[in-house]
Symmetry: C2
Subunit: 202 residues, 2 copies
DNA sequence: AAAAATACATACAAAGATGTTTCCATTTCC
DNA sequence: GGAAATGGAAACATCTTTGTATGTATTTTT
C-alpha cells in the first residue's frame, strides 16, 4: 500500500499529463474535465479533490511544469546571456524539431487571452518565461538581435502545423539563419556538444 | 425596402465580422452561436438559416474572407517571387505592427487541429495560403531564406501577445533582420513606397 | 393578386460541461 | 485500536451549447 502523499502526487501527475496530451491532440476548446479524467483513469471526484476549481487550478500547474522542465535544462549549463540562450534554443529545435510540448502552452496561452479567470492563474507564470528561460530582466539592455532570434524560434515552432511542414526544410532554414548571424563570441568554447545534448529532452 | 440579396449579404457580413471580433477578444473556446448572434444583432434562427451547421459553415467563410483580403493587396502589385512577397509582408508588419486580423486565423487554426469536421472545412483554405499569399507552388524551389523569413514573420505576429511586447522593440528587431539579409535584387526599383502603402490595410 | 420561396424569429429538446454534495475506503494520528 | 483526516467515487442540479422544429413577415415569382 502506498502512502497518501505518493497516491496524491501520482494521480495529480496523471491528470497533468492527460491534460497536456489532450491539449496537443484536441486543443483547448475540446478540453473538458470528463475527458481529462477518462484519459487519466480517475474520477471527476478525484480531479475536483486535487484541483477544486477544475481547469483554473489545473492549468497553472501544467504551465508551471512545462516551463520548469525547460528551465531545468538551462540551469544545468550555468549562467549565460540572453543571446546565448536563444542560440541554444535554436540549436535545440534544430536537433529536435518536432518536440510537441510547446503546443499545449500555445493552446493555453491563446485561450487565456479571452478568459480573465484563466489569465489570472497562468499569466504570471507565462510572464516568468522571460527571466527564467530567456534570461531577460528589467535591466537587460534591449537587443534587436536577441528579439529577432526569438521571432525565428517561435515562428519555427509554429511552422510545425503548416501545410508545407518538412523537417529537412525547417532545419535548412534554421541553419541558414545560424550561419548568417554567426555564433556569439566564445559560444563554441563554452557550450560543447555535450552541453548541447543536455538541451534535448530526457 | 432592400432586396433579399442585399439583406442576406448584410446579415451574413455582420455575422462574419462579429465572429472575427469575438475570436480576437474571447478566443475560439468561448465562441458560441448565441454570442455571435447577440454581437451581430440577429437571431440564432438567422445564423442557422445562412449557415445551417453553425460554425462549420461560418468559419470557412471567415477564413476565406480574411485570406482573400490579404491576397487582394498582392494582386494589385503584379507578379513577384516568394522572397519578394515575404519581404513585402515584413515591411507591412513594420508599418502596421499591431494588425489583429491574424489572431482570428490563429485561433481557428489551433482549434482545427483537434476537430476533424472543422478541419475539413478550413484546412483546404489554409493550405491555399501557400500559393495565394506566399506564391509557393509545388514547382517552386526550396529556399531556406524565404522559409526563414516566414519564421520571422510569424514569430513577430505571435510576439504581439508576449509579456514584453513593445512596438518600438519589435520594429527595431525587424529592421535588424532586414538590414542583415538585404533586399532582393531589384526590389527597391520594383516596389516603391507607393506600392508599399498598398500593402497596408484600407 | 395568389402562390411560392426566402429571411428571420422563437421555442424546445438533447447533449455536454461545470459546480456541489454525499458517501465510502484508506491512511494517518493519538 | 479508535478518531480524524485524506483520497477518491458516484450522483445530482444547473447552465451552456447545439440541433431542430415551427411560425411569421416579406419578397419574389407567375
Amino acid at each position: 500500500m502506498a502512502t497518501q502523499i505518493e497516491r496524491s502526487s501520482a494521480t495529480q501527475t496523471r491528470l497533468i499529463e492527460a491534460t497536456i496530451a489532450l491539449l496537443d491532440e484536441l486543443g483547448y476548446a475540446r478540453l473538458s474535465e470528463t475527458r481529462i479524467c477518462e484519459r487519466a483513469g480517475v474520477s471527476r471526484g478525484a480531479l475536483r479533490h486535487h484541483f477544486p476549481s477544475g481547469r483554473y487550478d489545473l492549468l497553472p500547474v501544467v504551465v508551471e511544469r512545462l516551463i520548469a522542465a525547460e528551465e531545468a535544462r538551462f540551469l544545468a549549463l550555468g549562467p549565460m546571456t540572453p543571446l546565448e540562450r536563444v542560440h541554444l534554443m535554436l540549436r535545440g529545435t534544430l536537433a529536435q524539431p518536432d518536440r510537441s510540448t510547446s503546443v499545449a502552452l500555445l493552446q493555453i496561452w491563446m485561450a487565456a487571452r479571452g478568459d480573465t479567470k484563466l489569465y489570472d492563474g497562468v499569466g504570471p507564470i507565462f510572464d516568468s518565461v522571460l527571466p527564467r528561460l530567456f534570461g531577460l530582466t528589467d535591466t537587460t539592455p534591449d537587443d534587436p538581435q536577441t528579439l529577432a532570434l526569438r521571432f525565428v524560434l517561435h515562428g519555427a515552432a509554429l511552422h510545425r502545423f503548416n501545410a508545407d511542414y518538412d523537417v529537412a526544410k525547417l532545419r535548412a532554414a534554421l541553419h541558414w539563419v545560424l550561419d548568417l548571424v554567426g555564433e556569439p563570441t566564445g559560444f563554441a568554447a563554452r557550450f560543447t556538444d555535450v552541453a548541447l545534448l543536455q538541451l534535448e529532452p530526457a
